[in-house]
Symmetry: C2
Subunit: 561 residues, 2 copies
Amino acid sequence: MPTKSKKTKNVRVAAIGGLGEIGKNMYCIEYNDKIVVIDCGIKFPEDDLLGIDYVISDYQHLIKNRDKILGLVITHGHEDHIGGIPFLLRQLPGIDIYAGPLALALIQSKLEENGLTKDCQLNEINEDSVLDFGEMSVTFFRTTHSIPDTLGVAVHTPEGIIVQTGDFKFDLTPVDGQPAPNLQRMAKLGSDGVLLLMSDSTNAEIPTFTKSERFVGTSIRNIMGAIEGRIIFASFASNISRIKQASDVAIEQGRKIAVFGRSMEAAIKNGIELGYLDYPKDTLIEPKDVNKVSGDKLMILCTGSQGEPMAALSRIANGTHKQISIVPGDTVIFSSSPIPGNTASVNHVINGLEEAGANVIHGKVNNVHTSGHGGQEEQKLMLRLMKPKFFMPIHGEYRMLKIHTELAQLCDVPKENCFIMENGDVLEVNHEKAEVVDHFPASDAFVDGNGIGDIGNAVIHERQLLSEDGLVAACATVKMKTGQILSGPDILSRGFIYMRESGDLINQAQKQVYHAIKQCFREQQHVNESMLNEAIIDALQDYLYDKTERKPIVIPMIISV
Amino acid sequence: MPTKSKKTKNVRVAAIGGLGEIGKNMYCIEYNDKIVVIDCGIKFPEDDLLGIDYVISDYQHLIKNRDKILGLVITHGHEDHIGGIPFLLRQLPGIDIYAGPLALALIQSKLEENGLTKDCQLNEINEDSVLDFGEMSVTFFRTTHSIPDTLGVAVHTPEGIIVQTGDFKFDLTPVDGQPAPNLQRMAKLGSDGVLLLMSDSTNAEIPTFTKSERFVGTSIRNIMGAIEGRIIFASFASNISRIKQASDVAIEQGRKIAVFGRSMEAAIKNGIELGYLDYPKDTLIEPKDVNKVSGDKLMILCTGSQGEPMAALSRIANGTHKQISIVPGDTVIFSSSPIPGNTASVNHVINGLEEAGANVIHGKVNNVHTSGHGGQEEQKLMLRLMKPKFFMPIHGEYRMLKIHTELAQLCDVPKENCFIMENGDVLEVNHEKAEVVDHFPASDAFVDGNGIGDIGNAVIHERQLLSEDGLVAACATVKMKTGQILSGPDILSRGFIYMRESGDLINQAQKQVYHAIKQCFREQQHVNESMLNEAIIDALQDYLYDKTERKPIVIPMIISV
């Protein structure tokens, strides 16, 4: 056997997404020209990404290295871990995907929706699976999170074990039927020797141990026990444990259950098929029948707990929902915490519901929510179980990653062995040392409708400007040889100010454009369209800012003849 | 090899102390006529045990079975785990004792004080020690608590592993130099299969994860950083980590340190010898020199954080301390929580200190204390690590044991496999089943000065009555043949009310006694002393209760001639 080159002795670890952000998790572990990919998520756009449906990663690193890819291993079925799969498969058909039963069912639905079922091989795994990839192998350990079937991943390489925790909390008393975290297996990895730990940083700013889901169940039971009217229960569709806990209480109270929202319907269908959920006959009723059941015998399960404008709950709140109007006596339970950035939207929905007469119960006040991610004590517990030589915080914004490395240092990982990385940074690690040696492009790619990557930051910036100050267009037909203005200039605007109510402003703006065109022809010898455009933009922007302190996008539309 | 009788196949597990109480921990694990004893503690008397110094266990079960005892294994050096050793050795000399370095040093001091060094063999152990006792062997696992060198104990029997956790929290970031809990070893025991888990129940009522000692260090540093005057720092002498954290900050601030209180002096001496504490030359000063150092350059470490009346701090608070009087600008830090039952005494000391002009900083408000025992999350973590077949909560009052069994059930130990026991109850357990089959005497024994066991509950009850309402004695010299009262009756009282200020009450009481004696002779033919005593007690008790609503102990003292 020939001596291997230095390069092949290192494991190369990188994030395609998931570092410096919450969302679009995707990591790759490379050894000797073979790559194991872990997760493929989307990120939900923040409020400033106007008109964008999702954000995914730029997959060009994987496309370039397509022949090295051994497979895509999925930790769990949340969108920020599986949502990118359809977009990846369009660019890289034929990848083998390995996932637990629930995640697999959710992926299957996605592939069916997108007509991609033939573009990959789906393989069901559980925590006892071993993926034998030759020099590398992959094993798993059971964790707990806000969705069942959550796995941590251990990639065994000749240089040592690379552990990626997936999303986790240590829920030591998970709700019925779900197993506790496999502490023994984690400790065994620690005893065997973990080279690099890549661990979930989401709650690195929370100093405590996250409450068990069971604890939330108790609160939900107490709260629902005191409600006499109709209950509208909103949570993440993926939080099947939560849906089960609320459903169990509703069933005990003899309530029928109606489900609103496409993702909630899909989640409940999957949950029933996989045995996580169980509804007695005739408990689930059709949305159209909700008004046939008296309020005290009804619970509505719905999406929209994040204030999403098109979700059922927002439409209920603003009175535009077809089947449901709030009546006094209704109680709406938000069994969730607003993701930062959604707070305003959620508050807007809560206000709407309360104004319509509902009683609204939400997270922090009432213990009707707990995080799916472990706090500092659990992050330290993972560190102490794994006892890694090197540490790389993942799944978090910069400040979370930073705090997580401080925790690692308190747990005896030397500071120089902790790596706060960015998407695209490549960490080379072997049994002796680790360093960041390379970087590949891994920027955001925006998904807008069906288009991927046809929208860049410049487009988003324009949408931001449009959303803030609107646009003003100036049209004129100009004879380019003479400078004669044959028609116009006409001014129209969208999202700016009510021009009609400011007749003077329009008149003056028209005059500004007129003079700008005339001046252009006076001062220049060979006037072309772009010179006119520039002159109009300058003149109109200055004038409008001067009069209104706004900066609408100015669009000159010269028809040259 | 002959078939063993059924009896020898069972492991017999019992507590000699520690169940239904916080204190005097002592457990025994018996297999095939051999006994491993774990810990030998005292209990500090509660307020209603008047005049009692300590409470220990009745050791008669061990005395009867002296030939079976293999050794006494110590989990850590707190008084409620080692304090009973001198009393045990007086009754059972020659026992082998196994303990970690710090506990061993503390035991050694006790034995020297009591002249008992020749009565046992002391053996130093650490978490890697294996005690080979033939059919049984004992191994250890490192835990964390409020004293260094804390071990959990695993007794390996042919029927399975019996784990006794000792006192523990999961301090995942212990202060400098101390190791974290050995999660890998605990998980390995769980993988190998734990037959019975006996686990610390102290904080079963606290739903959270107990804060790390390091967190307290940060608070102490912040608080001490803002103090300009003299600092008086009070904590348990055994809490060496706490003493180290306060000392480190004081040293950084250029303060000299004076130590008050015998147990604090001993703790610091041991801590230095064993390497847990380190003071630069000339940092520690003699108590007599405290007034030679300016306040901003001095910290006083002292005992008395529980309000003990004879401890340094109480004497400082009430102005009877020889060297130290409180002056304005002094800050007293209570780095402890009052043990329930001591709250009133602690408040009394705090009031005294504040009245004298000190600024007092205490536990809950300022994060200057954290418990040494794990909360519910840590108790569940221990259960999940050990995955026991049977469970027996130890180290706690009944309600704590009760809640702890509920946690065990949430962690998948069946209810019928959980045993809430009392001191003296014997649990027989084999690899298939467990049941309580026997009970031996294991009552409290009171230590009052040098006497052990010469004080029983009746004496304590009398002390209670005396302490509540005092005593009233009636003396008279009576000629028994005639009934003539030769002198008296005289009335004297202690702890009742100021009789002198109630001349009328005395006069009337004398008359009651006089009439009672006379009536006795009138109505009875053969009057004896006990008849007179009874008559006097009845008369005087009724009269005094009628007039004062108090029930002093009435002591008739008839001198019969």
